[in-house]
Every structure is written in C-alpha cells, then in structure tokens.
C-alpha cells in the first residue's frame, strides 16, 4: 500500500495536480493523501540515512574519485578472454539442460496445481502449490549448496539446482494458463468417453502449449544469468573463475569474466528471440 502512495508521492503522477483543483474531491481526502506522502517520504529519508550514512564506512570507501579509481581496476584484460571461453560454454550448457530438466518436472506439478484439472482434489492441489512456493522462495545458490553436498562438485548439481529453481515459475504460469482455458474442448473430448490422460493431451495441452513454450524460453533467458553464479558454491560454470579472480584481487581478469558473461547473456537473449519467432 505504501508502494502505491510512493508512485504518487514522487511527483510522477499528473492526477495529483488535477486532484487539487477538483471540487468533487473532499478536502480531508487530499489532506490524508498529503499526510501519507509525508510519512512515506520521512520513512525513506530515515532508512536512507541509516544505510548510506551510519552503515557505511566512508573512510574506507573514500570519495567519488577513489570510487572511480577502484572501478577502473575492473577494466577488462582482453588477453585473458580466450581462457574463459570453455567455462562460458559450460555455463551455457548448464543453463540449457537445467531449463529442460526443470521443464519436464514442471509439467506434472502444473497439472497438480491447476484447480480445474488437479487429479485428487484439494490434497494434490496443495501439493502442487507448496512445491511451487518452495521452489520460488529458495534462492538457486541454496539449492546448489544442497545438491553439491549430495552429488559432489561439478556441473551436475548446478543443473539440478537450476531445474528445481525453474519449476516454480514454469509450473505457476502454466497452472494459471490451464485454469484459464476454454472448457469447450475439454467437454467435447470427455463426451467421447476419453480417459483423463487423453483429455489432458488433446484438450488441455494444445491450448496451453504456446504459453508454456514462451515461458520456457523466458526461463532459459533467466537461467543463463543464474548459471553464471552457481560456480561460487561449486555448481560448475564461470562463477568459480569469477570468485577466484576477485579473491586473488585480479580485478582486470574479473572484469574480463564480466565482459564474457555480458556477451553470453546477450547471445542467449538473441537466440531466445530467434527461437521464439520461429516457434510461436
């Protein structure tokens, strides 16, 4: 609610100006609104002071000049670039297969979590919902930590962490799409005496397929970014190299890795745009 007032408060809202002159609006509503704006602004001010003044060691951070000097350490060292290409490729593969495994797991979860097709009433509905919430609220690094301790270091736990993390978004959007389908085809297929699985395959799936594919591509796009950090906890990919370069204070090499990640993300975005226009 304070977020809504925030948008109004920051003067980006033209309607507020009209509101002052509007005789139809009671005066105390305007007053209430200004009080809310003032309250919100003071909360922001106090928190800002807390974080940026009291919680920051300005003696260590230095002024703007010092910051720019530190930032310049990150200027990429292009000679290092060829040696990270293989790690980038590995990261890309982790993202790709993580998304695909997640896609396979997400389909049954979506069926469970869609109110109109869930097989066993409330029990299976809530099972699906809880899976979605767990997958969405735990960060991929935590999943990677769990899988690394179960499978050892390497890209396999990273892939599974991405897969489990992707299930939430994919199943949630797909379940919503299933809940919004046109019921006509379902009734038509049911009238032929088809079994439940046939109804799902021939009445539900064709309707949600384009939405599902679009979301899988979107998720792949996100997973490329996620895969780039999994190496920090032993999940394979470029993240390990980045963490190593930061820890050994080789900031120019870290900058090169960042450049590589940017290139990979942009390439992934280009590929997903092409696949989207080809498939949909």
């Amino acid at each position: 609610m304070s977020g809504i007032e925030a948008a109004d408060a920051s003067g980006i809202n033209g309607a507020g100006l009209i509101g002052d002159a509007n005789p139809l609006r009671p005066r105390n509503t305007i007053l209430k609104r200004y009080c809310l704006i003032a309250g919100f602004a003071s909360v922001v001010l106090v928190l800002t002071a807390h974080v940026f003044v009291f919680q920051t060691d300005w003696a260590r951070t230095g002024g703007l000049g010092q910051m720019l000097k530190t930032a310049a350490w990150f200027l990429p060292n292009l000679g290092y670039f060829p040696s990270i290409l293989l790690a980038l490729f590995e990261t890309f593969l982790i993202a790709l297969f993580g998304t695909l495994i997640g896609m396979v797991i997400a389909i049954p979860v979506a069926v469970l979590a869609a109110r109109n097709v869930t097989p066993a009433g409330l029990a299976s509905y809530w099972a699906g919902r809880v899976t979605i919430v767990l997958s969405r609220s735990v960060h991929e690094l935590i999943f990677a930590l769990i899988f690394v301790s179960a499978l050892g270091l390497g890209p396999l736990p990273g892939m599974l962490a991405l897969a489990v993390r992707s299930v939430g978004f994919l199943a949630k959007t797909t379940a919503e799409a299933i809940e919004n389908i046109d019921i006509g085809p379902v009734e038509a297929i049911e009238a032929t005496g088809a079994r439940r699985i046939a109804v799902l395959l021939f009445a539900v799936m064709p309707q949600v397929f384009p939405i599902f594919v679009g979301n899988v591509i979107f998720q792949f796009d996100i997973n490329i970014r996620r895969a780039a950090i999994l190496g920090m906890v032993g999940g394979g990919g470029i993240g390990l190299i980045f963490a190593e370069q930061i820890m050994s204070l080789a900031y120019d090499r870290a900058g090169t890795v960042v450049l590589g990640v940017v290139a990979m993300v942009l390439l992934g975005e280009y590929i997903s745009i092409r696949i989207r226009s080809w498939l949909l």
Binding site: H50, V51, L134, S137, L156, I246, A254, V258
Partner: protein, 277 residues
C-alpha cells in the same frame, strides 16, 4: 475409384499426404535423436557422475531430515541475525524506491514512441537497460563490494540496478504499447517533452506501472536475501557462515525464516495488487 476435380484419385491424394506426414515424422525423429546425442555428449564432456544420481534422494533426505532437523529458529532470533533480517527488508525497500525513481526516466528514454530524442536519449536508455540486465545481481554485488566496501550500501545499489533492469524494461514496454492519440493531442497544444510525458503518457501507464512496481519489490526482496553471501549486507552473511561451518540446523533456521518472509511478501503484494484493481 473416386476421381477428384483435376483427375487426382483419392489414393493419390492419400499417398501425397502420407509422404509429407512421414517426412515430418522423420524430421522430428532425427531432431530428437540429434538432441539425445547432444545430451549424452554433454554428460560425457562435463564428466558428470550420473551414477551418483541413484543415491541422490537418499543423501538429500538424510541431509534435510537428519542434519537440518530440528531447525534452530532461536538462532535466527538472536540479536545480530534478527537485525540482519530487518536490514534485508530495509535494503529491498530502499532498492525498490530508488530503483523506481531511476527507472521512470530510463523507461521514458528507452521507449521508441515517446523518447525525447531518438538519437541521444533512446540509445542511452536502451544501453542502461541492457547493461544492468546483462550482469547477474550477485556479480554486481561482488563488484560493488570491492568499490564501495562491505555493508548494506553495496546491496542497496545492487537492488537499485536490479530494479532498473527488471522494472525499467517492463515499464518501457508498457510505454511503447500506449495509444498515441493523447500524446499527439498534448503535443499539438505546444507542450514540451516533460509535459507530454506527465499528461499524455503517465495517465495511460500508471496502473500497469504500479503492478510492475509491486511485483518488482517482491522479486527484489527475494534477491536481497542472498546478497549477504558476498558481503553486501543482509542475512545472506549468516547463511554463508553457517553453511561453511556445516552448522546445518542453524542454516535451516535461516532458510525457514527466508521462506516465511517471502511468503509474507507474496501475500502482501497480492493484497496490494488487488487493492489497486
């Protein structure tokens, strides 16, 4: 034998149809086969220990139900950890507020249809959106920790960039989808770029933008729980120290607190979105 209009028999037509169906199936089959080969090659290339998968569920079960149980919730309520939970919420709030303040002009500049100048402002806005999106938040956080030092300031600025990348992109897409009629009408009165934006663009996108901002606060809160992992403030720091000490009961306590907070924020944003509708 039935003969069609152009002297094509039904059998001919069926054969033609079959040929294309079979061709389609063949292409699909070959694609699937190539993909399977690619998957197997990937597993081989990355030395994946697939044989370990069989015991995976047992080991995860042991870890989650023996070593992480019972979760040490008391630890999550001790002074420093509880303070870091508040700090996480504070960071996500400030990050969203300042991120939105930054995202509004960027979304305006980066929208092709109403951008103040297509040669200067549009590329600037686009570059800001693409660059902030291309670098993952944790990497931003690590860079900013080096530049700004440990603490919530680096985390807050990371979240500002996350908001800019995420909300900024969605907001500028909304602007590109507006009806241009009001824009032309306001321009025809001789209004400048800023007045055009305030009176023609904003009223059209306001509702969608507020929805995006609420959703963004939700996702920046999720991201903020992990930033402490690299020293950028918040409760990620305690998550890292407990997992590195293999103190999984305490780690699970923190993870449960994170899950509870994320669910709470989701419920809060659900009601906020319902209220504006």
């Amino acid at each position: 034998m039935a003969v069609g209009e152009h002297g094509i028999t039904v059998d001919d037509a069926r054969r033609d149809y079959r040929r294309f169906v079979n061709l389609g199936r063949l292409i699909k089959f070959i694609a699937l086969l190539l993909f399977c080969i690619f998957a197997v090659w990937t597993a081989w290339y990355m030395n994946m220990p697939l044989e370990r998968l069989s015991g995976m569920f047992g080991r995860i079960g042991t870890m989650v139900f023996n070593r992480m149980m019972p979760p040490d919730l008391d630890y999550a309520m001790t002074g420093n950890v509880f303070y870091s939970i508040l700090e996480t919420i504070e960071m996500s709030f400030l990050g969203t507020v300042y991120g939105v303040l930054l995202a509004v002009p960027v979304a305006w500049f980066g929208a092709w249809n109403v951008t103040p100048s297509r040669t200067i402002c549009y590329p600037l806005g686009r570059a800001a959106l693409v660059l902030s999106r291309a670098i993952p938040p944790i990497i931003w956080a690590m860079i900013l920790v080096v530049i700004l030092g440990f603490g919530p300031m680096a985390g807050t600025i990371t979240l500002v960039l996350l908001t800019l990348s995420f909300a900024g992109k969605l907001m500028s897409e909304q602007v590109e989808a507006i009806d241009m009629g009001p824009v032309e009408a306001i321009r025809a009165t001789g209004a400048g770029e800023i007045k055009t934006f305030v009176y023609a663009v904003l009223p059209q996108v306001k509702a969608a933008w507020i929805g995006i901002i609420i959703y963004n606060w939700d996702s920046s809160f999720r991201a903020s729980t992990i930033l402490g992992f690299v020293g950028a403030g918040g409760l990620g720091l305690y998550l890292r120290s407990t997992t590195q000490l293999l103190d999984y009961e305490r780690a699970m306590g923190i993870i449960l607190v994170v899950i509870a907070l994320v669910i709470a924020s989701e419920i809060l944003s659900h009601f906020a979105r319902r209220r504006i509708r």
